[in-house]
């Protein structure tokens, strides 16, 4: 139908031009996703995916099971599909393109069904349809009943070769699809989205695709990026995990936390998910004496969840360093990372982020309403090599409220250890 004719019938019609390159890209994405069922996945462009499932039957049981999983998967990804199972790849493609959803294992039935197919299904028949019509040839069976020598002379060798590949009389090699090393999938939204919820819904399709990609490589990812394409600009949302994962539900949960905390500056036109840190997935082998009440898996997903809302730096573990300067002896680290138990007696559990100046007063200790020095001094003099050197005399002090504090008197390096100001650095909580 012509564009203006269509518009005359339906004035509100929105006309979208078909984008063949986007279709091809989508097919490549589906091939990567479908590789989870068999590594022998091939593309028959423009719109057919060929899977050699012979070796996968042991894992999935019956071909029906693979078909069921493929179809539910494709539906979740937002694609409609027609399928067919046959002993040869070409025949399966023909039946699927005809939407004849056959599941053929028997070779004789295959022959019958092939002879009934219209000639138009053959690629090599595209230019010959008029000749076929004038000769009254309609189905593949009609060609097969003619003498082969005559057919190849009149219509060329390719026609018979194509039919032979379908019936299995000629080998039908395919180039298998090699999944890319980096996952990238894009989706254009049907309408511009301003709500995080709409983005989550759309990104789920991409995440499902990502899961298939990861299963095919028996890998997981430690982080992925959601790219938001706006009208004129683009923005990115990064999601990181403590250990490699390929769980769609986990990905969605983390993305929800991230999107929940960020605001969309502009409406979103399209989404893309990029994952390049593909890592082999370690399956935790079950511990014989594991404490069932608390699971490590829960802990890792808790850390991921907290990090995706509060930011990576706000959720951390602690490591002790063998360093005399108190500020450098306790360093944030990745949660759960193996640590040396470098213990130091007589140090406070709480440290102030920045030592707080306190005022010295000449007083005799022992009066009940004054701060008393309980122990000390402990001289810490270190760091001449990195320019952050200091000389300090540390004391434990007790306030009238019986709070125990860790304080020090500075002895500036420049003035050769002359007594300096007093600071509060820690609390013995």
């Amino acid at each position: 139908m012509q564009e203006n004719a269509a518009l005359a019938l339906l004035p509100d019609l929105v006309i979208k031009s078909r984008d063949p390159s986007a279709e091809t890209e989508a097919m490549f994405g589906l091939a990567a996703w479908a590789s989870q069922f068999t590594p022998a996945t091939a593309l028959d462009l423009p719109s057919t995916l060929v899977l050699d499932v012979t070796a996968s039957l042991k894992l999935f049981g019956k071909p029906e099971e693979i078909v069921r999983r493929l179809r539910t998967g494709l539906r979740e990804l937002g694609f409609r599909s027609a399928w067919a199972v046959a002993p040869t790849a070409s025949a399966a493609c023909w039946f699927a393109r005809m939407s004849q959803q056959f599941l053929i294992v028997d070779r004789e039935i295959l022959m019958q069904k092939i002879s009934a197919l219209p000639l138009g299904i053959l690629k090599s028949a595209a230019d010959l349809m008029r000749d076929f019509a004038s000769l009254g040839l309609e189905t593949i069976g009609d060609i097969q009943s003619l003498p082969r020598a005559g057919v190849s002379r009149r219509f060329g060798q390719e026609l018979l070769a194509e039919i032979d590949r379908g019936t299995g009389q000629r080998p039908d090699p395919r180039t298998f699809f090699k999944p890319p090393a980096v996952f990238l999938a894009e989706i254009e939204l049907p309408a511009e989205a301003t709500q995080a919820e709409a983005l989550l819904f759309a990104s789920r399709r991409l995440l499902l695709q990502l899961e298939g990609f990861l299963i095919a490589r028996s890998s997981g990812i430690e982080r992925f990026t959601l790219k938001l394409l706006h009208r004129t600009s683009s923005s990115e949302v990064h999601v990181g995990m403590l250990s490699p994962s390929r769980d769609v539900e986990h990905f969605s949960r983390l993305l929800r936390e991230r999107l929940g905390t960020s605001t969309l500056k502009e409406p979103v036109r399209a989404l893309a998910i990029v994952a390049d840190s593909v890592r082999p997935l370690r399956t935790d082998s079950g511990d014989l004496f594991i404490d069932e009440s608390i699971s490590i898996g829960n802990w890792k997903s808790l850390v991921d969840q907290l990090r995706s809302r509060l930011g990576e730096k706000s959720v951390h573990g602690l490591s002790a360093h063998s360093e005399h300067r108190p500020e450098l002896a306790s360093i944030p680290t990745d949660p759960g990372a193996i640590q040396l138990q470098l213990a130091l007696e007589g140090r406070p559990l709480w440290m102030l982020e920045v030592p707080r100046p306190i005022k010295p007063v000449d007083q005799y200790p022992g009066t009940a309403d004054r701060i008393q020095l309980v122990s000390g001094p402990e001289r810490i003099e270190s760091g001449w090599w990195d320019g952050r050197d200091f000389i300090r005399d540390y004391f434990v002090a007790r306030t009238p409220d019986q709070s125990l504090l860790w304080i020090y008197q500075e002895r500036p390096v420049a003035s050769r250890g002359q007594k300096g100001s007093w600071y509060l650095q820690g609390i013995f909580s």
């Binding site: 490590i296 306790s330 709480w350 102030l352 309980v374 709070s403």
Partner: protein, 249 residues
């Protein structure tokens, strides 16, 4: 006949399914030992209650409010359980945590911006049921509903959870089944049990300072120059809230 009846009557009070008003409440799951015999004896379940919120209200900072938890935290971390520190008021110091025998690997510190995030993080930590202990510093004001949510989350977990609140919070109602006020008494730590399941506690449990480890060694220091905290200092805001009474010197 008569004899056997009196025998039964005298046995009744000892029957395990009879609860008497002067007893502590019994708990389904035993508590986690506090590390102090005298304190365990006063707590239902014989220790810190699992799957319940415990409120800690210290009168001042630096009187041992963390040190008195450290034996239980150390025991949990040594059995491989994680300890979440949510919005601590100061930086937890790794060498001191290690000295308290808490395994550093099990420490998870969560910094939040505001009470809402703190409560959210605490709830997630409890709901995930992934930590042995959760320590929460939600700030001065937490409403009853928020505490109720935390208590509900705690009930579904196998976690001991401590929520640190100002001493003034002891005047208001709370859904936490165990509430403790911490005071000092001649340098020792006095634990006043404001609320527990079962009969109310009458007197505080006093934990001697030497029992609270790790403690700085006292060497009987004497000296002329004693500093005082300067309340007018411009940089004095960095450290946050010290007890106001320690500011006058």
């Amino acid at each position: 006949m008569h004899d056997s009846r009196t025998a039964v009557a005298s046995e009744i009070p000892q029957h395990p399914s009879i609860w008497r008003g002067k007893d502590l409440a019994r708990t389904r799951v035993p508590g986690i030992s506090t590390g102090f015999v005298s304190l365990d004896a006063e707590l239902p379940g014989g220790g810190w209650p699992v799957s319940n919120l415990t409120e800690i209200m210290p009168t001042h900072e630096g009187i041992g409010e963390l040190r008195f938890l450290s034996p239980a935290l150390a025991a949990l971390s040594q059995s491989g359980k994680y300890i979440a520190w949510i919005n601590p008021p100061y930086l937890p110091y790794a060498p001191a945590i290690a000295a308290a025998r808490i395994i550093l690997q099990t420490v998870l510190i969560v910094k939040t911006a505001g009470a809402r995030e703190t409560l959210w993080a605490a709830e997630q930590a409890l709901r995930a049921n992934a930590c042995g202990a959760v320590l929460v510093w939600p700030g001065p004001t937490v409403d009853y509903a928020a505490l109720r949510r935390l208590q509900m989350a705690a009930e579904g977990s196998h976690t001991i959870s401590f929520i640190f609140r100002p001493v003034s919070a002891g005047m208001t109602a709370s859904p936490a089944p165990l509430r403790l006020r911490l005071e000092t008494s001649c340098g020792d730590l006095a634990v006043q049990i404001l609320k527990r399941r079962g009969n109310p506690a009458s007197r505080p449990v006093v934990l001697a300072a030497r029992e609270l480890l790790p403690l700085p060694t006292e060497t009987g220091y004497a000296r002329n120059t004693v500093p005082s905290l300067d309340r007018h200092s411009s940089a004095g805001t960095a450290g946050g809230a010290l007890p106001p009474s320690s500011l006058h010197a």
